[in-house]
Symmetry: C3
Subunit: 138 residues, 3 copies
């Protein structure tokens, strides 16, 4: 490998709690930046387990998007570089409210919105939303 | 950014209904083309909400694959460029029928089939299948 | 296409059973290697349908990770090149045990762990885990 731009690096925002297993919150290699599945945990507090910012969808969604944004930024990217956002909700009844919060969040944040897939899955108790993202840097 | 090939552009086939939130049906940046999750909606009709082409798995699957193909083509790619297809079904009992339709669709359409992951999730009422794809252009 | 490095090729480890539909276990195009969703099937035996290595999460997880590794290796990559691992489990109660096995497996296998998303979905009867991966080669 002669091009050091291709080196794989972990992306770990200071605000993030330690992952519960051997994975990275984000990984950059070359011009690809992959953000791991983020949830609505508030900023890490030493000695305390990760805790969602609130029981509601709105609060969790905004925090989750902020957590994705932190990884993008730590990796030298922004939402403008995101090509894909994967959204995992737990209840199809949450779709409309989620979209309203999503749109509000992205107003003034992106010129070209990322693609998105939304599906309904199981998540650990207390979590209503999980989001990951793929970015391609310039 | 000196290489204009790296510019991020939204890919929006004329046949597609407007996304229900701030996301793009497809996004191309550099040689990466990401297709958002497509479902079995028929071509957009002004003034009408998006509607699945039929209640059955076969019709929805074929339409969904066509909708993915439209985004690939609008982005300057084809199924030959697709490296990954993500399939979301709602019922494990649909696997065999889905595969039969999938194989029929791809006969004569690809030389090297994309990789694929199939999992079973919840989808909004009336939808039996959702598919997204990642393509790498030449 | 003048750059042969961009050619799309299927990646098919000899140990793998034939996919149940027109997809590839792995696809490489340019520096992108996508591994299809792998499950805990043991090595292919001619004339026998694919069978999980065991009913338990631990055995299936280790075999699934080995199956992903086989595709990475056949495609000229290793876990060090993986930027994303997608984990599909069937039960939130499996998270802790899965993570313990995951960590054990990756000790001494990677310097920079891949990003990861874990969600809970339905899988065909008998399967407890499915995993796919995206790698970026040097």
């Amino acid at each position: 490998m002669t091009d050091t731009a291709a080196a794989k690096t972990a992306v770990t925002p200071a605000t993030h709690t330690t992952p519960p297993a051997r994975f990275s919150h984000g990984v950059r290699k070359g011009n690809i930046l992959q953000v791991a599945g983020q949830v609505g945990f508030g900023p890490a507090v030493a000695g305390r387990p990760p805790t969602p910012v609130g029981p509601g969808l709105r609060e969790q969604t905004l925090q989750t998007l902020e957590n994705v944004a932190s990884v993008l930024e730590e990796g030298g990217a922004s939402w403008e570089d995101a090509v894909m956002v994967r959204v995992y909700l737990t209840d199809t009844d949450h779709f409309a409210e989620f979209n309203a919060v999503y749109d509000e969040y992205f107003t003034d944040r992106v010129t070209v919105p990322a693609a998105r897939t939304t599906v309904y899955v199981g998540l650990p108790a207390g979590l209503l939303v999980e989001i990951d993202a793929l970015a391609v840097l310039d």
